[in-house]
């Protein structure tokens, strides 16, 4: 079976040559393509592949189907194109991408025009446009091999120059590297690569063999040498698979190779171990679950402290989520022995559960303090921001914030901040609503959840450490006096302001 599929075709010499040529084309394009991608020149790559056409056709008209002539013609056309693009870009307002667009289509059209005149002498346009690896001659093979060696040799010899001018052209110039020379050199070997690829994939599709293997490798590694290796391998594999597909199913070989390499790219895009879409989605989902679990523990901590019910319905209410959303995370928290249900219904924190809750609360309240004190955010907005920032932080970072703030005792709303060792000094306080007429209290903290209420209280000066006296109560509305000023608070506010009786 394997023999029939892969080995049997190789008894034909044309197939052997096609295979060798395709592998070389895959490797050369893959390696060179890495630099084209890193220099963000994918568009130039496309342009060059089209622009060499007139050079090839003119060479054919002058010298017939001699390999060296075709090769020189292509390189010449390539360099002319690169120079023209540079010239137009430098000497007019035309931006580089427009210059590329104008020049390369112009050159390509010139090539097509010339070919249309040549039809009489049987130069097949198809052949240039889409390639024909099964028609590779021994001479073609030699040309490809020599070009391949020149290109891979240059990449190895001038790795430093290629790397630095791609990564940091400013520094390259500063230490005396000729960045323009490197650019034109690259354009030169790019034209050569395109000629080498003409036979296997053709002008139209060669850009895919140039860009896609490198783009795939870029998703898989963070090292340039490895990226070059991977791109070459991917290029070769795509070329081989594409060639066999075209042999057995009689598809255009260039198109088959490009389809294979595109599929490899798409699969990598989804399944890559670090950059893949799938792994990122999984990580996002896990993070959400982790944050929800944190929030549940926190909710139970707060509700317990306020001596409220901690049934799962109350928690869903408190967090503003749907009950079914909580079932799985609660189950997990129980399995992790962070929660238990003494009466089969209400949820209680275990010792470890409380530790975890306090850790998140510590992070939350430190962020609130940081944002008000250092970043100048309003009192009423910091809760939302802190809600986003509190999760997944390394302890060291939270400790650093603590240190930078000078180890504050309470957050801006007066709530105590748990210490590094996991202890918290909860204040003995009660809702303002519990004060009777004539009683006085000092504001200890203000529940931080509703920005509008907070903003109003802040403007009125009702902030922690302010002393107030209740002067009148009726129907849930409480009249208070602070110094000379008098305020009337509805029960929206009185249930959120916590006081210590004096």
């Amino acid at each position: 079976m394997m023999y029939d599929l892969f080995i049997e075709p190789l008894q034909y010499q044309f197939m052997q040559r096609a295979l060798i040529a395709s592998v070389m084309v895959g490797v050369i394009n893959g390696a060179l393509g890495c630099f084209i991608i890193l220099r963000r020149m994918a568009f130039i790559g496309d342009a060059m592949s089209h622009a060499v056409l007139p050079g090839v056709v003119i060479a054919f008209m002058v010298a017939g189907k001699g390999h060296i002539a075709l090769f020189l013609g292509a390189v010449f056309a390539g360099i002319i194109t690169a120079l023209l693009i540079g010239f137009v870009n430098r000497n007019s307002r035309t931006k580089e991408d427009s210059a590329i667009g104008v020049i390369f289509i112009g050159m390509f059209a010139l090539g097509v025009l010339l070919i249309s005149r040549l039809r009489a002498v049987h130069l097949d346009l198809q052949h240039f446009l889409f390639g024909d690896p099964l028609g590779v001659s021994p001479g073609d093979l030699w040309l490809t091999a020599i070009i391949g060696m020149v290109i891979l040799g240059s990449i190895i010899l001038f790795y430093k120059q290629l790397q630095l001018t791609s990564f940091d052209p400013t520094m390259a110039t500063a230490i005396g590297m000729n960045t323009a020379l490197v650019h034109y050199f690259l354009m030169g070997i790019l034209s050569m690569t395109i000629v080498a690829s003409l036979q296997a994939v053709g002008i139209i599709l060669v850009v895919a063999m140039l860009i896609t293997p490198g783009a795939t490798a870029y998703l898989l590694t963070e090292r340039l040498p490895r990226m070059l290796m991977l791109a070459s391998i991917i290029g070769a594999v795509a070329a081989i698979v594409g060639l066999y597909i075209s042999y057995w199913m009689n598809y255009s070989s260039g198109a088959a190779m490009v389809i294979v390499v595109t599929l490899i790219f798409l699969l990598t895009l989804v399944f890559a171990p670090k950059q893949g879409i799938l792994i990122k989605a999984i990580q996002r989902k896990r993070a959400q679950e982790r944050h929800l679990k944190d929030d549940i523990l926190k909710a139970i901590y707060h509700l317990t402290k306020d001596k409220k019910d901690t049934g799962i319905e109350t928690i869903a209410d408190y967090l503003g989520t749907e009950l079914p959303m909580l079932k799985k995370p609660v189950q997990r928290l129980k399995q992790a022995h962070l929660l238990y249900t003494p009466d089969g219904r209400t949820l209680q924190l275990t010792e470890n559960g409380e530790k975890q809750a306090l850790k998140v609360i510590r992070s939350h309240r430190l962020w609130e303090t940081y944002l008000t004190e250092k970043a100048g955010l309003g009192w009423e907005h910091v809760d939302e921001e802190a809600e986003r920032l509190e999760h997944d932080l390394p302890d060291a970072l939270v400790d650093e914030i603590d240190e930078r703030l000078g180890y504050p005792e309470t957050d801006p709303h007066g709530a105590p901040i748990p210490k590094k060792d996991g202890t918290i000094r909860e204040t003995e306080d009660h809702p303002l609503a519990s004060l009777q007429v004539g009683e006085s209290g000092i504001i200890t903290r203000v529940s931080d959840q509703i920005p509008e209420v907070l903003a109003t209280l802040w403007k009125a000066g009702l902030v922690p450490n302010v002393q107030l006296t209740v002067t009148e109560r009726d129907n849930g509305v409480i009249h208070i006096q602070v110094g000379e000023k008098k305020f009337t608070l509805d029960n929206n506010a009185t249930s959120r302001v916590m006081v210590k009786k004096v």
Partner: protein, 253 residues
């Protein structure tokens, strides 16, 4: 020490698209000490550094470095660019980047020698980035990234260091590390020139100041030129000391 200036700038004018960025600047730098370049946005601070290296087209004037045209002494100058121009996704590790500092000394087709590797390791060590050696640079915090570029400049073993806004987006520890390194280098007799836009620490950091606003406003010891008259001349009416909001967000990953 002879009296040839380390950097000698005569009548320098640089323009971008016919709009002058620097006008007729004359400067002879030879003093020992760390030199700061200050001035408002668009004053040509970065342009001045780049002009020294001929990274921008010079319209008029001459620049000599160590008594010679800059092209002859490029291996003796290291340049730390602004962080914004770097592609942080580029597949290079900390070690790779620091090794680039050696490229000026390695032949065109030669590979790094054992000695180059040793110098790179030492430079990484000096900025305390040992444990991140093999990290891709995009995985680092802002301060760590700046340290890597500093290590690259160190590995270059140059006589002159040009730093463009090295304190932007770095944490306090890195800022201190940069300052300490600048002093060490200066003690070794190297010239350190720093573009800086934050006026807050100018007096602590720099021994000499170049104050520019396209024209050269003043050059001299910091205590002599960091004066209200010259500052308002440099900054025009625009001198508003902006409240510096510390940003810690960069640290969280």
């Amino acid at each position: 020490m002879n009296s040839t200036p380390v950097i000698d700038i005569q009548n320098l004018t640089v323009s971008y698209h016919r709009k002058p960025a620097i006008r007729s600047i004359n400067l002879q730098l030879k003093e020992n000490g760390i030199i700061g370049i200050i001035g408002p946005n668009g004053a040509g601070k970065s342009t001045l550094l780049k002009a020294i290296l001929k990274l921008v087209p010079i319209e008029h004037g001459t620049i000599k470095v160590l008594g010679q045209p800059v092209d002859k002494v490029r291996d003796k100058i290291s340049y730390v660019p602004q962080k914004e121009i770097i592609d942080w996704d580029f597949p290079v590790t900390v070690k790779d980047v620091v090794m680039m500092g050696r490229y000026a000394h390695i032949g065109a087709i030669q590979r790094p020698s054992h000695r180059d590797r040793k110098i790179v390791d030492e430079a990484i060590d000096k900025v305390s980035m040992n444990e991140y050696k093999n990290q891709q640079i995009g995985n680092l915090s802002g301060g760590q990234q700046q340290r890597v570029f500093l290590a690259r400049a160190l590995a270059q073993e140059s006589e002159i260091l040009l730093l463009d806004e090295p304190f932007v987006g770095v944490d306090a520890a890195t800022e201190q590390a940069i300052i300490d390194l600048m002093h060490t280098l200066n003690d070794e007799g190297k010239m350190v020139i720093v573009v800086n836009h934050d006026l807050g620490k100018v007096q602590d950091y720099f021994d000499h100041l170049i104050m520019i606003n396209q024209w050269l406003i003043a050059y001299g010891p910091t205590r002599e030129v960091f004066k209200p008259e010259l500052l308002s001349k440099t900054y025009g009416g625009r001198l508003t000391i902006l409240q510096k909001t510390e940003r810690l967000f960069g640290v969280a990953q």
